[in-house]
C-alpha cells in the first residue's frame, strides 16, 4: 500500500515535461548554438569554396576530391596515423603497468600517484615549452643524461627520424589520467576471483591475464577510445614545437595543424571544413570498430 501511495505522488502531471525541458534548456540551447548548428554549417562549408572574407560559393565535392591530390594532406595523414599507432598502445600499456604497480602495497603510494597525475594538469603550451628544452639536442637534459651514459643523443626535435619518437615519448607524459582510471578499475576487481585463481594454481602472470585484464577490459576500452580521439586530434604541442618562422618540420606536421592552417592561415575554410568532416568520420569508424571488437573482447560484469 505504501509503495502504491508513493507511486501516485511521483506520477507525471500536466506540465512536468515542459518544466523538465525548461530546466534542461540551457543545455539544449547551448548544444544547438555551439555544437549542432556549427556542425551543420561546417558540413555546408565543406561543400563550398569559403575564404572567410567572402561568402561561401558552392563547389560540391571539390574539397573532398582535392585531398587525394594534396601531398601535404597525405603527409599529415601518414604522420597522424603513425603517431596513433605508436602512442595509443604505449600509453595504454604504460598506464596499466603503472596502475598495477601502484595498486600493490608500496611505500609513498599516494605521493607517487599524485606525481604521475600532476603532469596532466599542466597546460599543453607550458609542457610543450618544457619539452622543447628537455629535448634540445645541444643543451637539453635528455641528451645530457645520455651523454653521461656514453650515448651521443640525437637532435630530437630537428632530425626527421627522431621527431616521431619525441612526440610519442612526450605523449607518455600525460599517462596519469589513464592510470587513475585503471587504478579505480583494479580496485573494483573482487578479491574472491584472485583467491579462486590461486586455489586453481594460477601464477601471478596467469592471474593478470585471466582475471585482471578481463575485469578491467571496460576501462581499457574507454581509455583506448579516448586516446584515439585525442591522438587523431593532436594539435597544440606539435604546433608550438614544429611550426617555426622558417617552416614546419615535415615530420612534425599533423592533421589538425594542417586543418588549422587551411582555415585560419591560408583562408581555405571550405577545405578545412572538409578535412574536419573526414576526421570526424575516421574517429567514428574507429570507435565503431572498437565497439564491435569489444563485444568479444570486453567483459562486462553482471550485477
Amino acid at each position: 500500500m505504501r509503495a502504491q501511495g508513493s507511486a501516485s505522488r511521483v506520477r507525471p502531471r500536466f506540465g512536468s515535461t515542459a518544466r523538465g525541458l525548461l530546466w534542461v534548456s540551457p543545455w539544449l540551447v547551448g548544444s544547438a548554438a555551439f555544437l549542432f548548428v556549427p556542425m551543420a554549417m561546417s558540413l555546408y562549408y565543406s561543400l563550398t569554396d569559403y575564404p572567410l572574407l567572402e561568402p561561401p560559393l558552392w563547389s560540391g565535392l571539390d574539397n573532398y576530391r582535392r585531398m587525394a591530390d594534396d601531398p601535404v594532406f597525405l603527409r599529415v595523414v601518414k604522420n597522424t596515423a603513425l603517431f596513433c599507432v605508436l602512442s595509443i598502445p604505449l600509453q595504454t600499456i604504460l598506464a596499466i603497468v603503472l596502475a598495477v604497480l601502484l595498486n600493490g602495497r608500496i611505500p609513498l603510494r599516494r605521493t607517487i600517484q599524485a606525481c604521475i597525475f600532476i603532469p596532466t594538469l599542466v597546460p599543453l603550451i607550458a609542457s610543450a615549452m618544457v619539452w622543447m628544452w628537455l629535448f634540445n639536442g645541444e643543451l637539453g637534459l635528455v641528451n645530457r643524461v645520455l651523454s653521461v651514459l656514453g650515448v651521443d643523443g640525437p637532435a630530437w626535435l630537428v632530425d626527421r627520424d627522431w621527431v616521431m619518437p619525441s612526440m610519442v615519448l612526450m605523449s607518455l607524459w600525460g599517462v596519469g589520467q589513464a592510470m587513475i582510471v585503471f587504478l579505480a578499475a583494479l580496485q573494483d576487481v573482487p578479491r574472491q576471483l584472485y583467491e579462486a585463481a590461486r586455489i586453481d594454481g594460477m601464477g601471478a602472470l596467469r592471474q593478470f591475464s585471466s582475471v585482471t585484464l578481463p575485469m578491467i577490459s571496460p576501462a581499457i576500452l574507454f581509455n583506448v577510445i579516448s586516446l584515439t580521439i585525442a591522438c587523431v586530434q593532436v594539435f597544440a604541442i606539435p604546433y608550438v614545437m614544429f611550426r617555426k618562422p622558417d617552416g614546419t618540420n615535415p615530420a612534425g606536421h599533423f592533421y589538425t595543424m594542417y586543418l588549422y592552417e587551411n582555415a585560419f592561415v591560408y583562408g581555405n575554410m571550405g577545405y578545412a571544413s572538409a578535412m574536419a568532416w573526414v576526421q570526424l568520420l575516421v574517429v567514428l569508424v574507429l570507435t565503431g570498430v572498437m565497439l564491435l571488437a569489444s563485444r568479444r573482447l570486453v567483459h562486462y560484469r553482471r550485477v
Binding site: 540551457p26 540551447v29 548554438a33 569554396d49 575564404p51 572567410l52 572574407l53 567572402e54 560559393l57 563547389s59 582535392r66 591530390d69 601531398p71 601535404v72 634540445n136 639536442g137 645541444e138 643543451l139 637532435a155 630537428v158 632530425d159 626527421r160 617555426k244 618562422p245 622558417d246 617552416g247 614546419t248 618540420n249 615535415p250 592552417e261 585560419f264 592561415v265 591560408y266 583562408g267 581555405n268
Partner: protein, 448 residues
Amino acid sequence: MTRRAALGGMAAAGAGFALFGPRGERARASVDGRIVLDYWEKWTRHEGDAMEKVIAAFNASQDRIHVRYVVTSDIGQKSLIAIGSGNPPDLIGLYSFNIPFYAEAGAIIPMDELAPKFGVTLDRYAAGVRQVMRHKGRWWATVNTAGSIALYYNRELFRKVGLDPDRPPSTIAELDEAHRKLSKIGDDGKKLERVGFLHREPGWWSWLWAYHFGGAIYSPDGGTGGGGVSLTASDANIRAMEWMQSYARDLGVDRVKSFQEGFGNYFTPENPFLTGKVGMIVQGPWIANLVQAFKPDLDYGVAPFPTVSGHAADQPVGLIDTDVLVIPRNARHPEASMEFIAWTQRQDMSELLATAHCKPSPLAVASDEFLSRHPNRGIRVHYAIFGSNRAYIAPKTPTWQQFKDEFDSAVQRVWRLEALPREVMGGLQSRTQAIIDHAAAQRRRRNA
C-alpha cells in the same frame, strides 16, 4: 517567488544578455562624445609603446576622434575572422604580404580617393615602398613602418680572420670566401665553433636567394590560369638552391643541426649573431635594437646582401618588408580612420615610430636629424634599398602564405641533402602552380 526560481531567472537573464546583449557597437560608441576607433596592431614592448605615443599625440591634437590601441597577437587570423563575421575593428596593422589576399576579397577599403582627401599621396613614399601599397592597379594600404633586408656582419670577426671590415662582400663569390675564412671547426673536428654565413639563420626568408641570382620565384604575369606563374624551378632559383645546398654539404648537415640547437632565441642575448657564433646574417634594421639592448659594444657593419654579379652603384638588390595600415570593409568610420592614418604618416610621427622600431622611415624624404640620430649605424644602406629600382617585395599573390609554407618545406629538403635542388624545385613548382591556378579559378567563378 522562491529562491530557486529567482536564481533560475537571473541565470536565464545572464545567458540571454551574453547571447543577445549589446556587443562591440555600444561598448565602443564614444569617449567624451568622441568617435572611438579601435586599432588592432601586433606590436608590444618598445614597438607598441612608440605607437601608443603616436596615438596619444593624435588623441590630444583634436577633440572629435579617440583612437584605442588594441594589441592583437596572430593578427592575420583574428582579422580574417573579424572581417569575415562583419564585426571588424576600424583599423588593422597587417603585414604587406597580406594585401593581395585581403584586397582581392574586397575585405579592405581602397585608398585611391580617400587618402588624398587627407593629404596622403603615393609620391610621399620611397619608390620601393610604393610597390607594397598597390595591388592590381589600386592603392590599399599605407605603410607605418618599413624595413629592407640586408647583410649584417661582425666587423671584429672580419678583422680577426684578416678580412677588411670596410669592404663587406658584394658578390656571392666574395660572401663564400668570407664565409670560409670565418667558419671554424672545434679541435675535436666534430663540432662547429663558428660559421661565416648560414642561410637558415634565422631562416625567415628562405625564398629570397633567387633574387640575388638574377631571378625571381614568382611572376604576376603570364600563365594559363591567370593567377601568375610560379618560377621556383627557374634556373636562377635552382642555382640559388644549389649554392645553399653546397653550404649544407660543406659544413655537414648533422653538425649544423647540433650547432643551431645551441643558439638562443632571436630576441635574447644568446642570439648567435650577438654571441659571434655566426659572422654574417641576413636581417632587417631592427636587429640594431637587439644590439643596443644586449650587446651595445658589438662592432657590426651593414651592406646590401650580395648578388652573383655585385651591386650597381646606388641600385642595390634587396627585399622590402613592411607593416601596413588598412581600413577593413564594414569599418564604421572610414573617414575618421583615414584621418588617423594621415596623422601617422606625417614626417615627425613616421620618424618617431621608425626610430623606436629601428627602421628607416617609409617616406621618400628623411630629415637630417632622423638620420644622424638613428640607432642603426647602417640606416643609409636600408634607405638605398628603398630607393633602388632593383628592390623587390614578397610575391603579390593571394596564395602567398601557402606558397611560402610549401617553399619552406622544400628548402628544408634541399638543406638536409634529401634530394637535388632541381628535383625538389620541380615538384614545388607544380605544387605551387596548382595552388595559384586553383585560387585563380575560384576568383574567376566569384567574379563571373
